[in-house]
Structure formats: structure tokens, C-alpha cells
Symmetry: D2
Subunit: 323 residues, 4 copies
Amino acid sequence: MDQVFNAVRTDLALEAREMLTKRVQEEIPGVLVETSEDDDVVITRVNITTPAAEKMMGKMQGKYITIEAPGLRYKNTPLQEKIMKFLADELVAMVNLPRNATVLIVGLGNWNVTPDALGPRAAHKIVVTRHLQEMLSPELKGGVRSVCAIAPGVLGITGMETAEIIQGIVSNIKPSLVIAIDALAAASSQRVITTVQLANTGIHPGSGVGNKRFGLTQSSLGVPVIAIGVPTVVHASTIAMDTINTLQEHAAFGRYFKSMANLSDQDRQTIVRQVLPEMLGDLMVTPKEVDRLIEDIAAVVAGGINQAMHPNIDYENIHMYLH
Amino acid sequence: MDQVFNAVRTDLALEAREMLTKRVQEEIPGVLVETSEDDDVVITRVNITTPAAEKMMGKMQGKYITIEAPGLRYKNTPLQEKIMKFLADELVAMVNLPRNATVLIVGLGNWNVTPDALGPRAAHKIVVTRHLQEMLSPELKGGVRSVCAIAPGVLGITGMETAEIIQGIVSNIKPSLVIAIDALAAASSQRVITTVQLANTGIHPGSGVGNKRFGLTQSSLGVPVIAIGVPTVVHASTIAMDTINTLQEHAAFGRYFKSMANLSDQDRQTIVRQVLPEMLGDLMVTPKEVDRLIEDIAAVVAGGINQAMHPNIDYENIHMYLH
Amino acid sequence: MDQVFNAVRTDLALEAREMLTKRVQEEIPGVLVETSEDDDVVITRVNITTPAAEKMMGKMQGKYITIEAPGLRYKNTPLQEKIMKFLADELVAMVNLPRNATVLIVGLGNWNVTPDALGPRAAHKIVVTRHLQEMLSPELKGGVRSVCAIAPGVLGITGMETAEIIQGIVSNIKPSLVIAIDALAAASSQRVITTVQLANTGIHPGSGVGNKRFGLTQSSLGVPVIAIGVPTVVHASTIAMDTINTLQEHAAFGRYFKSMANLSDQDRQTIVRQVLPEMLGDLMVTPKEVDRLIEDIAAVVAGGINQAMHPNIDYENIHMYLH
Amino acid sequence: MDQVFNAVRTDLALEAREMLTKRVQEEIPGVLVETSEDDDVVITRVNITTPAAEKMMGKMQGKYITIEAPGLRYKNTPLQEKIMKFLADELVAMVNLPRNATVLIVGLGNWNVTPDALGPRAAHKIVVTRHLQEMLSPELKGGVRSVCAIAPGVLGITGMETAEIIQGIVSNIKPSLVIAIDALAAASSQRVITTVQLANTGIHPGSGVGNKRFGLTQSSLGVPVIAIGVPTVVHASTIAMDTINTLQEHAAFGRYFKSMANLSDQDRQTIVRQVLPEMLGDLMVTPKEVDRLIEDIAAVVAGGINQAMHPNIDYENIHMYLH
């Protein structure tokens, strides 16, 4: 994959496909796409089905479901509840989980860096029940799966790769499934906080706001790993690259300067490096209200997971039973 | 001042001058500049001396001192202590404060949005002593000024303009001086977290990460207001505008496309709006490690203020005496 | 009032009366009491109507309404909503507030000390609207009062008495009413977190977990002040004194040692001082789960105030309109 | 061990021995004690050497070193640095650690409950280096051990026993030593925050503010475990029991009521239960300033560990090298 294409970095399969089809001007072989939508929400299913498609897309083979709802940027309780339900339904459909399975939820990222805090904040809102299984009455047990959760912190704080920590815990706790929640980078600022991506591929190296060095996948952990992510940032280099691309589109229409159409990939890289000299890639672009937005979307993500995990529960009263 | 120039927004007088001189290709009348430097640090004094210069620069008439130290991005204790000392010295030189004056420190910004949290975090590290004045022994009193501090929160949280809150407190507490600490926006990503600006102009409307609607100035508060700020973000629109400018410079040298040299201000605005459609100006660019960086620089800012306020104190033991 | 009686310190008028009537073995002249209850909740109205009663009770003349619900210790959504409603109703009945009045909510206490953080946490959950009044449509305005809120921090952090800060803000903002939220001390551990007290007396000196040195009252602020408090601690000295009293009750029944009935007030003080030597009064007794409990009860308090302030609003969607 | 003795609960071996010797009026066989002191600090070494002594003391066989410094309650930098040095020296003497060993630091307890937050806060201040070993220059490596750290959260938040999580991580990371930091309960309020206990026994079930259900010991983890703890609370039942004991001492001297000397253990339990009815044991007694005190003592504990782990480093500049 060429470097320039990488300069517009995205963790969304949806966007990777958009950029690639725009670039090659045709559908990508081995990538299946389905879309359904209503007034508030667009759901897109991208299925990467061949190793060749994996290589072209720069995303692991597997299913990626993207729920986009621009209204999530505003505190809109009914829409939030609708997205929770959608997320729960997609999650249930994606895994075939027995009643008595144990599920480990992993909140990736850094509590202390607001745009990277989605994982830890969502993990904190998970209804954990694994330690209560013996105490639950049989009728309650029907609706309460054994769920545990951890937000292990990032490499710079622990000195351990997240993958090392989670491998250790998985080998001891032996869950049937891991669900990893992570803050992502999008290519488009309009998808920031408004999009939830669900993937059966796990987390791959280099992804996320914190750019993981090792992945959390079925092959590294020995159990299936579902990744749930929400873009919270755009890379600064993406903004610069987008500006060039926009100029170039105008050029294509002869608006400003024809010659720009000939700008090579390397030329574009050179310009971006000049705009963002030393810190290329270390700068992230995020909304000013990021704290409130992350708190709200963390509640949506956790709510969706809770519903998928504990389906037959009266949520009004769940905490009463559990204490 | 034209709108396009504003698209590259900066709260640093230093940068406003740089951009303006580049644009008009000559020194700005009524703007005096002095620079001194050593291996680690550059200190620049920008003095805006006329109403005409105020208008051209888009910055209030007054003195702006900028301490730039790229090394502040790394946890470097000796450099941090050096900058604290410089800041204390400049602060003492800027105000002629009697021994028995009371000083109110105001931490502007939002605790919960990391890049906007500089003010509250620094205010929290101030050695407050106003409530202890009666208890202090006379020999200690010589080195301990009466200092109080508040971080009132932002408009969206309080429903009150910060200026309204501070006006009320000032009219009741009657300090001789207000020092307002705020997170700023820079034009250059390299100045983020590495630069401290000290100004005798107070805080003016529209400045800071949170974009104040009302200023904190001698005319609004009735007492002198020193503003101490550190850039913690670059506006996303600045990155886009920078990219265009960089392309244009190449164009000037005939590198890619001559015609771009003719791009009008309005053309550039159009392109930036297209790259950052709905959220223009609401996105901020900030380093990934913003939490640690802000914690460190807040300690430098608070340390400089503490030294300036309480000059003759044994800092090792200050807390012992005070409890 | 004698010192020994004070050793069992309480901020609840309900408890002050209980202790006093137990002590003097009769009803207190000038103190009116009314109780109503259902399965989950007891509401007690204590009205201190004379200066003599004020002196005996050690509580300012005025109305104190106590809502007790032991179930609040468990996360019980329907009960929480019921208490919110009760609190809103009592609040509306206590003040006769015009539609267009501005109300200032003050969260007293220290964010960083969990049992003292009720005020700041509840203030943070208030729907503030004062800054939006001009933007609200007329039909929305009918249900949305002008509300602002601040959590100014405590004396040790600001160097200013809370009363000084609030006086300044009140004189500038000119609200029609101040509602002050504070964490309280109870005499009985069973009332901790399960009780909400509403009083039209404001906050008086010496009350609260942080022991205010100056009050927030109509006479100090010039506008009516409603105090809403929840006990979050019991003083350690209360536990010690309770133990002695319990022994003494047994003694009265001749169970263990008759002579103990003769223990003087001073004897009891001596023993308490010996048990809690240096730190008498600086230790607080609080539940281990204090963080979760305070978060929940802060939501109840803020919810009650929000309903009282903004009666005709669709709470599902309030945030949508307001953004 | 009888129940009454347990009612005064302590995690300090020092106090367990004090109470036991007072009770049995003689030295405990198999318990060796050594004390050294200077103006500010008392160091006591309690060595429990036999299974019989373990049973009597209710503390695991092993060495317990207690550093008591009442001055730690006041922010006294020189004293804090002295205690850090003492702690580092004792830690180095307790373990015989090769240069190239990896050490895992575990911060036990709940971030969100201030008196239980010592472990997480101290862990956060550890200089972690395991991930940097490859990057370190050989001369730096001499002074920088491979250290990693985690604060896994408590059972109610994760659904997993801390021991399960740490076992998993230890089996994957394979450290040579685990150091577990925990908030403790003392019997005496004067030892709260002023005492650091170091033990080569690990953490045993039932200890700490959060009352662990499973221990972290060499037998559960397969590697040596050093426990470092600081009492941050006294149990409320301890205050009640202390009050009775104080009365009883007076009784012994015939001061108030002779018959009290005959109070049986069960009588005393009955009284304590009556004073602290429902919540017996769930209430903790802690200083009002607990937030600041824990922050300071966490820095002392982390500083001592950092010095012991990375002995030959210029601490002024450590962070410079490491970034």
C-alpha cells in the first residue's frame, strides 16, 4: 500500500473503502458492501472476504458494521437508545454466545487523555456480573450473563503492552469472548463521535488513537474478539491532505490551476510534512466539547453491550437485584 | 482586518506580528519588538503602542512577553525551573506590587476538557495565603503575599460569563491585581505547550481555547489584569490554511503550478470550508500526550506565579509553616 | 448550649430535636413537628418558630423538611425518581418564585474529598439556562427558568470564604433566590446518604462536612437562601459518644453497672477525648462505597432542583432544544 | 482467635502485637520485635517466626517493618524525602534483586474511593521502564531496572478478583518480584497516613480497606510478593470498641463504676452492634483532608519504590532520558 494513501489514516473500514474506490475508480474485488438506512441512521456492512482485498484495504479480513447517526453529537435520548438497541442487535447477530458463556470487556486507551478515554469510560459503565453468578437466583440468571471488564491502561503507564496484559488475564479467566472498546481515528471530521464501528476482526496493530503496537485478535488471545470503536479524532495530517485533495479537485475542474492535477503522491507528502513538521502524526484533531461527547457515546456503547449481554433484565431495577 | 487573515487564528502577539509582517512585507508601525535568547529559550517582547497598531494586529494595545522553550515538551526539571524563574522575573517586572497587596489568580477554562484545563489546573497549584494572613508570623509575612485563587468554570457549565463572576468577586474581595491563566490557540503546532505568553492587557473577547465572549481587563474589572497563557491547541482551520499557504509558496517558486499564486483570499476560505464543513472552528488540534503536557506546564506556570508572589520563602518548607 | 450535647454533632434539625427531647424528656416549646410517611419514605417537617427554640435547638429559626428513604442506599431507579419528585414539590412549595426569576445554585464543598463533594457534583448536574434565555423560543421559555450554578471550592483552595465569593457573584448577577447544596454530618449512621434536608434558613456557620466559618443566609446575601443537604458523614466523636450513651442506657436498666448512670457530661467528654486524642473532630465516618452513593444522591438532588426550576419541560429532549 | 479481639481490626502487625501483649500481659512467643528511632521517625521490625505466633497474631508468618512518622501528616518535604530513602533502603534489604530482574508493581484498591485510592495513585507515580529496556543505553541500564505497573481496579468494578487478574499477568510477564501497594486499616487514628508498613508476606485475604477475598502471596503467584501499605482509615467499630475499653480502664482504676470491669467480650460486641447497627464494618473513619494526605503519601511510597528500583539515576533528569 502506498505511503500517501496512508497519510489519510482511518480506522473505519467504511472510509478505507470510500477512499480506495475513489482512487481506483471501481469496486474492490472481494469487498462486499450493504447499506440500509432510515431518517436518523445509516448502517453499512463491509465484508472483506479475500486476502487480496485485505491487502488493498489495509484492514483485516472480516465483517465491519458501521452505525452512523449524525444526531449523536447532540444529547438526544431517544436516538441514543435507538443506537444502543441497534448495537445490541448487531452484537448478538455477530456472535453465537451460549447463555452460560463468560465475556471479558476490555476498555482500551488512556483515562487521562480525553479523546483516548472512550474505552475506559465505557468499560466503567458495563454491568459486571461474573463475581455475582453464585448469588443470582435461577430466574435472574436466565437474563444475566457472566460479564467481567478491565481497562488496563496504556503502554506508557504500565510498561506492558495491552496485549500482554489481556493475554495473561484471558488465560486465567478463560472467557468465551473478548469485546474490546477503543477510540478510533476517522478520515472525515463529520464521522467523529457520530459513528460506531463493530468488527469481528479484533483490534489490529497500529489502530486506535493510541496506535497499538500489538493486536488483540483471535490468533493472539485464542478466543474470538469483537472490536467496538468510535472515532474521536482525525489526524492533523488528514486535514492537511484533505486540503490538498480539495484543491486538486478544483484543479480537475480547471477552477484554479490546472497544473495541480499533476501533483505526485510524493509532492503531497512533502507539503504535509512541511505544514506539520516535527510532530507529524502526533497531533490529533478533536471537537472542543470532546469531554461531554465522549461521556455520552461511552454510555451508548456500554448500554448496547449491556443489553446484548443481559437480554432479559428489567434495566430499571437491575442494580437492586445485584446489590 | 479581513476574514481570511483571521482564519489562521492565534492568541500569541508574536505570531500575529509574524503573520502580519510576512503579509505586508514590512515592519508594523507602532509595534516594537525585542528578542533575547540563550541555548534553550527565546524571549520576545512585543509592544503594541498605538491604536492603529492594535487594529492591524488584532491584539489589544500593551506589552506581550513570550517565553519559548521547545524543551518544555520533555519532562526536563532544570529547564522547567529556569522557565519558572524567568516567568517570575517578568511578572515582577511587569507589575509594581506593594508587599501587602492582595492578588486574585483566575484559572480560566474547563477542567473537563484536557486542552482547556490549563487555567484550572494551574490555579489549583497556587499557594493561596489570603485566609492565613492573620496567622502568619511577621517574619514570614515579609515573604508571603496575600493570594487567593478561583477557577470559576465555563459559560456552558455555570450559565454565567466568567467576566460576570470575576467582576462580582473582585468588587467584594478588592484585590490590587488579577492574574488570569488561560489555554490559548497558536498558529504553529511547534509552539503548542512550549511557549508561555505574559501580557499586561488582560484577556480579550474571542481569545483562548474556549473563546471568551467578554474580556477580563482593567476597564471591565477596575484593577490591572495580567494574562498568562500557554497555547495548547491549533485550530483545525489553521492546519488547512497552512497547507494552502505552503502550496502557494511552492507555486511562487514555480514548483508545481504557477496559477496558484493568484488564489484570492476568498478562494482560500472556500477551500477551508469545504475541508472542514460543518464544524469549522469547532475542531482543535492538540498533541496526543496533552494530559501529561498540560500537567507539566501548569506546574511551571503556577511555580512562576508562586515565586513572584511569595519571594522570600523557603519553598521546601512553605507548607509546614502554612498548616 | 452545653459542650457535651455538641459532641454529638448533627446538621439535621430532625436529629437535633430527637436528641434534645430525649434529653429534656419533653417536647421543645416553639418547635412544631409534623410527619407523613408511606412504605419507602418518611417526610418530617420541623418548624423552629421562636428565638428561644432556636437557642435550645442550636439551629436557626425556620422550616426544615427532611425526606428519609433508607432505600436510597441501593441503586433503585423508581425510588430515586420518587424522591426527586418529592424534593421538587417541597422546593416549589417553599419558595414563591416568579416565572422569570433567576436562580443561582451553589455547590458547596470540596470536589476532591469524596464525602464533601456532594455540592460540586450536584451543581454539575444542574440544567443551567441563564445564558440561553435569549435564544429560547417563547413556548420553551414557559418551562425553562433562568438558572445558573457555581461550585466555588473551599477556603483552603481559594483563600476566600465561600460567603465572600457568593456575595460578590450575587451582587453582580442579582438572582431572586440562592439554592445552596451541601454535604452534612448526621448523628446517626443510618441517615447517611438516605436523607435529604431542605431548609429555608440558608447555610449557617459551623455546618456541613467542611464546617463553614461564615453563613450563606438572606441576611448575608440579601436574597432568600434555600439549603439542600444530605448527610454523608458522622463525626468520629459521635460514634464514641454514642457508645457511651448506649452503655449508659444499659446501665439505666441495671444491666451492667449501675454507677454509670451517674457519669457527668464532663466525664463523657474526657473519655471521648482520650479515645480520639489529637484529631477530635477531624475524623469523619463514611461508608466505604461513598463514591457511588454520592454520585447517585447528587443525581437525585440535582434532578429534584431541575424539575422544580424547569417544570414544563420534556426531560427526554431538554438537551436537544438547548444546544 | 476470638471475635471480640477482631472487632478492633488492624492491618498493622505492630498494632496486632500491641493489642495482643496488652491482652495476654506478656510477650508473644515466636514474635521478635526490634525498634530504632530518631527525632521524627520510629522504625519497628516485627518478625513472626512460628505457625503458633501466626495464629495468635492473626498475621502471616514473615517480616513486617513499620516506619512511623507523625510529621507525614504535614506537607514537610525534607521529612518526606527522608521516609522515601528509609523505605527504599528497607525495600532493597528485604529483597535480593538482580540488576536485570523485572518487577511488577500492583496498585490495589479503588481509584474512585479516596481512602482506598492509595494503591492506584502510587502505581501511577511509578517510573515504568520495562517497555524502554531495548532503547536504554548500556550506561543508563545499570541504574534502571525493568519495572512495570498496573492498578487493576476492584472486584465490584471488574467482576474479577484482583488475584485472578494478577495471576494471569504474572504468568505472562514473568516478573521476579511483585510489589503490592494497598490502603490499610489501623486500630489507632494517630497512625492513619503517618505510618508505612513493608512486609515480605504479600497481601492476605481480608486485609486492606477493600477487604480482599483472595491473597496475593508467593504461593498464589509463584514469585515473592512484598506488600507496602499505609493505613488510611480506622473502622468505625474500632472507635466504638476503643470507647468501651477506655471506660473499662477507668473502671479498673475505680474511677466511675467498678462493675464495668466485668463486661464480657460478648457484652462489648452487643454494645458495638447497637451503636453501629446495620452497617457494622462498612463504615470507615478517615481524616477530612484525606485527598491531600493520600496524594502526599502516595508520592512518598512511589518515590521510595522508584529509588529502590532505579538506584543509580539522576532523578532530576530521568524523564529526559526516558522520552
